[in-house]
């Protein structure tokens, strides 16, 4: 049975009439036109569909839309603040960290949540925080450099 579900997406309120079990990913992509989160596996195994739910990185392909009820959802389209890219996005540009880029939503959204919570992470903690995400093109080296760069910039910004 369809239900009315209210949530905030990228800072704007939304009211959806939806089957509560519909994965959030399809609602974001097909109803809200937010194409940033990608379908990679639909199984929670790759991270391509990652969004922030209440600030935490979740895999929207296995997140029922009902679990976002009255919650705040941020997609990569809403990651920029006041027109400025998130530090993680900028670092990915500076490191040119993509081949096809299909996986990149997952890495950026996961890294942003990780570093927003604590940018003072060493390389090993960063690797652990990103472990499990897939990139079939093999962009890992530049992705790792980009996230390390973002961490150092964010940590420096917090110190000042």
């Amino acid at each position: 049975m369809e239900e009315t579900i209210e949530m905030t997406v990228n800072g704007r309120s939304a009211s959806l009439l939806a089957e509560p079990s519909t994965p959030l990913l399809y609602v974001l992509r097909n109803d809200l036109g937010l194409a940033g989160p990608k379908f990679g596996c639909g199984l929670g195994q790759c991270g391509a569909c990652t969004v922030h739910l209440g600030g935490a990185a979740v895999r929207s392909c296995i997140t029922p839309v009902a679990s976002a009820r009255n919650a705040t959802v941020t997609t990569i389209e809403g990651l920029a603040r006041a027109g400025a890219l998130h530090t993680v996005q900028q670092a990915f540009i500076d490191e040119q960290a993509a081949q096809c880029g299909y996986c990149i939503n997952g890495w950026i959204m996961t890294a942003a949540a990780l570093l927003d919570a604590d940018p003072n992470l060493g390389e090993d903690q960063i690797r652990r925080g990103l472990s499990g995400l897939k990139c079939r093109c093999g962009t890992h080296m530049s992705i790792l450099r980009a996230v390390k760069l973002a961490a150092s910039r964010m940590a420096a910004a917090r110190r000042t």
Partner: protein, 759 residues
């Protein structure tokens, strides 16, 4: 205050989410067609099926390649596609260079069969070579044509003109000037392409050869880059396919009148079954729940890889071929003072592209438009036309970026399936495969079994070298869907020939030995067509496997001869460029010479260093891998790669470095982890758990790249794939050095490392 937008799943009404205040306005160009702005884009902005498009975009006309708008912006068209390596940026550099316009002013249009020249698409790392060459000449000719126009407009001889940022000046009197935009502005050149226009002297290059940021990167990070999977066209429905549960299972019954939420149509043709629904999640659900009965045909595959390799070693080849034959190998082997012999094996591997394929097809009014990823939209157009019984001129394939594709992944199959579904319902249908349709059903890189033998004289010199490869052709499904039989749809419907090709498995090394022979035997595997183990090109087809066998064996022979493996290679290689990369990689990696595996200890770990080299279509690469092995578990990590790379002149060194690193990681993934699992009736690798790939925890600490031969004017060779080739052998050789025993089967798992250590 009410919500900013309201969505109902049936007939939704909403204020536009994307165009509203506060949200990012997204607009993007579908290559070759109108600008789109999200799911609600007006229908008028989309091309309509039923239109007749040119049967062929004439490559002999300059206007087919270049356009100059009145604002001075340049649009260059090319029959290649961007597979995620930055080739579009290289094309733009080449055009900007020849025309003397700023790089930002150039856009590249790729892969639309109605507007771009048929160069077949991209493959064999030929993007910059073939597409770049055409654009370089077009740019040069356009520049001289524009100079001629400027000359008459300004009344100054062309020889006395110069161009800067798209503006033509009289050299002696810079106030006399006219811009490209003013000269041509939206009009056509109306000239034929010259065969050999005078191009710029490479020594004067200012844009080509410089490291520049890729044009596609920032849009990707901003989520503004649009993939085929992101396209939404008006009135679009959603499809999913249902594959046979076992190889060669025939469709017995399907509930075509099923009543499932949102179901518009069950589409059945032969053994092809698909569903079309209103919404995407409904299509997924319908495909899951639809009742389908299949036959149980019995085993087609093997019980294990051991059984497969046994089959490859003992089965009767359909074709055999020899190459690089010198002297009498058998006699030399018989006369040798000592002999070395080893067998190597390489498995089926999957493209497992990051997203399962997606395509949108709009088939109605006697025509078809297909938006699809993949690499070869031009042949695909013909296959779609044949499948639907339409003239080719009524079919348009518009390439859009897909997830990375590494040869012939599932993209073309998906495009064909989408065309069938749309044809059945007469409305646009978007079909995205599920993960299991991608990993489980994409065409596979072929397996191979190798047998190598060498003979040594009393002083440790190689007197005989015999290379013998046996396997399935990597072109059962050819690289390019020219006919429906190449696609899964064609095979499942039945009655379409596949036109497979027998592709041999020779290693490309060029060692010179007194007696030498390379043999390749292709075994029949046509029975796999229409199943999930049919074979096709996967990045650097047959390169990693043949190089793994051959370069692993080089180390085994070197140790048997008590010669350092680098010294050994330098001794038997003859070409200067090949020796140079071997030397450069060894030097940069601080190669430790040895005449037997070192089994060096570091803390509780065994560490090793291994080198491998490979040529590929003129490019040469040598790679040193360093590994650290935990002797108790066999688990290991590659700590560092050192690469020496000579692909001649490099258009964009910055993007090439990224491509090389990515090749290393993907090739490392293939070497360490990847083998498609199967049982006698089915493929069992269907997701990321059953087809594991490299993880961030395993990524090396560093990659060092040394570029050789990169000089303006040097020939440009392909660089998209070659650095893939030597990786498996370099890792295997490093493991050999660390543990003192060779590991001869890919994937180089920790279990096989442990087994090799225990002898």
């Amino acid at each position: 205050m009410g919500p900013d937008f309201v969505v109902t799943q049936r007939g939704f009404t909403r204020r536009d989410f994307l165009k509203g205040g506060g949200a990012l306005v997204v607009s993007f160009a579908v290559p070759g067609c109108a600008t789109l702005a999200g799911p609600d884009t007006a229908a008028a902005e989309f091309p309509r099926p039923g239109t007749a498009w040119p049967a062929k975009v004439d490559p002999a006309l300059l206007d087919s390649w270049l356009r100059i708008a009145s604002d001075g912006s340049v649009s260059a068209s090319v029959g290649k596609i961007e597979a995620g390596m930055g080739v579009g940026t290289s094309f733009a550099q080449i055009v900007a260079e020849e025309l003397d316009v700023p790089l930002e002013r150039v856009t590249i249009v790729m892969g639309d069969t109605a507007t771009t020249v048929n160069q077949r698409g991209t493959g064999s790392s030929n993007g910059v070579m073939k597409g770049g060459e055409a654009l370089r000449k077009a740019g040069a000719q356009a520049r001289s044509t524009l100079l001629a126009l400027a000359s008459s407009r300004l009344g100054v001889p062309a020889a006395d003109l110069r161009v800067d940022e798209g503006i033509v000046y009289a050299s002696a009197q810079p106030s006399k000037r006219v811009s490209y935009g003013e000269l041509l502005g939206d009009r056509q050149f109306h000239v034929k392409v010259e065969k050999d226009p005078r191009c710029k002297d490479p020594k004067e290059y200012r844009i080509v050869g410089r490291p520049v940021a890729r044009m596609d990167i920032a849009p990707k990070m901003r989520a503004e880059y649009r993939y085929a999977a992101d396209l939404r066209v008006p009135g679009m429905l959603h499809g999913r396919v249902i594959r046979p549960p076992e190889a060669h299972a025939r469709l017995l019954h399907v509930d075509e009148d099923a009543s499932l939420p949102g179901l518009v149509r069950v589409v059945r043709k032969g053994d092809f079954v698909g569903v079309v629904c209103e919404r995407e999640e409904q299509a997924i659900e319908a495909a899951r729940r639809l009742r389908v009965e299949w036959s149980r045909p019995g085993p087609l595959y093997w019980a294990s890889y051991d059984a497969l390799y046994e089959h490859l070693r003992t089965g009767r080849p359909k074709v055999s071929k020899s190459e690089d034959v010198h002297g009498d190998v058998e006699a030399a082997l018989a006369a040798a003072a000592s002999r070395v012999e080893a067998r190597y094996e390489y498995p089926f591997q999957s493209h497992a592209s990051m997203g399962p394929a997606c395509a949108v097809a709009d088939v109605r009014d006697g025509g078809a438009i297909v938006w699809a990823g993949g690499q070869k939209p031009y042949p695909l157009r013909g296959a779609v036309a044949q499948l639907l019984g339409l003239p080719a001129g009524k079919v348009r394939v518009i390439w859009m970026p897909g997830p990375g594709s590494y040869g012939m992944n599932d993209a073309d199959d998906c495009a064909m399936d989408a065309a069938l579904l749309s044809h059945a319902v007469g409305r646009p249908v978007r079909l995205q495969y599920m993960r299991a349709d991608g990993t489980g059903w994409d065409p596979k890189g072929p397996p191979a079994a190798f047998h190598l033998r060498a003979g040594l004289d009393g002083e440790g010199n190689v007197t005989a070298w015999d290379y013998d490869a046996r396997g399935f052709s990597g072109q059962l499904r050819r690289s390019g869907t020219d006919v429906p039989g190449q696609s899964l749809a064609g095979q499942l419907i039945g009655g379409y020939p596949a036109e497979s090709h027998d592709e041999h498995k020779f290693s490309d090394e060029s060692y010179a030995f007194p007696a030498k022979r390379k043999a390749s035997h292709i075994l029949p595997w046509d029975q796999s067509l229409g199943t999930a183990l049919r074979t096709a090109h996967l990045r650097d087809p047959d390169g990693p496997s043949t190089c793994f066998a051959s370069e692993s064996f080089v180390d085994e022979v070197a140790y048997a001869a008590q010669v350092d493996p680098v010294e050994f290679r330098l001794r038997y290689l003859k070409q200067a460029r090949e020796k140079a990369v071997v030397r450069a990689a060894a030097q940069k990696a601080q190669w430790r010479p040895r005449t037997k595996p070192r089994r060096a200890k570091e803390g509780g770990l065994l560490v090793g260093q291994g080198l491998s080299y490979a040529p590929r279509h003129g490019t040469v690469v040598a790679i040193v891998a360093e590994v650290a092995v935990d002797p108790s578990s066999g688990r290991y990590r590659v700590r560092r790669f050192t690469v020496a790379h000579d692909c001649g002149f490099v258009v964009n060194p910055r993007s090439l470095a990224g491509t090389i690193e990515a090749n290393l990681m993907q090739a490392m993934s293939r070497a360490m982890h990847e083998a498609v699992r199967f049982d006698p009736t089915r493929v069992l690798s269907v997701d990321w758990i059953t087809y594991p790939v490299v993880d961030m925890m395993e990524v090396p600490d560093a990659v060092d790249i040394v570029m050789l031969g990169n000089e303006p004017g040097a020939k440009i060779y392909g660089a998209g794939e070659p650095s893939t080739r030597p990786v498996a052998a370099a890792i295997a050789n490093a493991l050999h050095d660390a543990i003192g025993a060779p590991v001869r089967r890919v994937p180089l798992t920790h279990e096989s490392v442990l087994a090799a250590m225990r002898g």
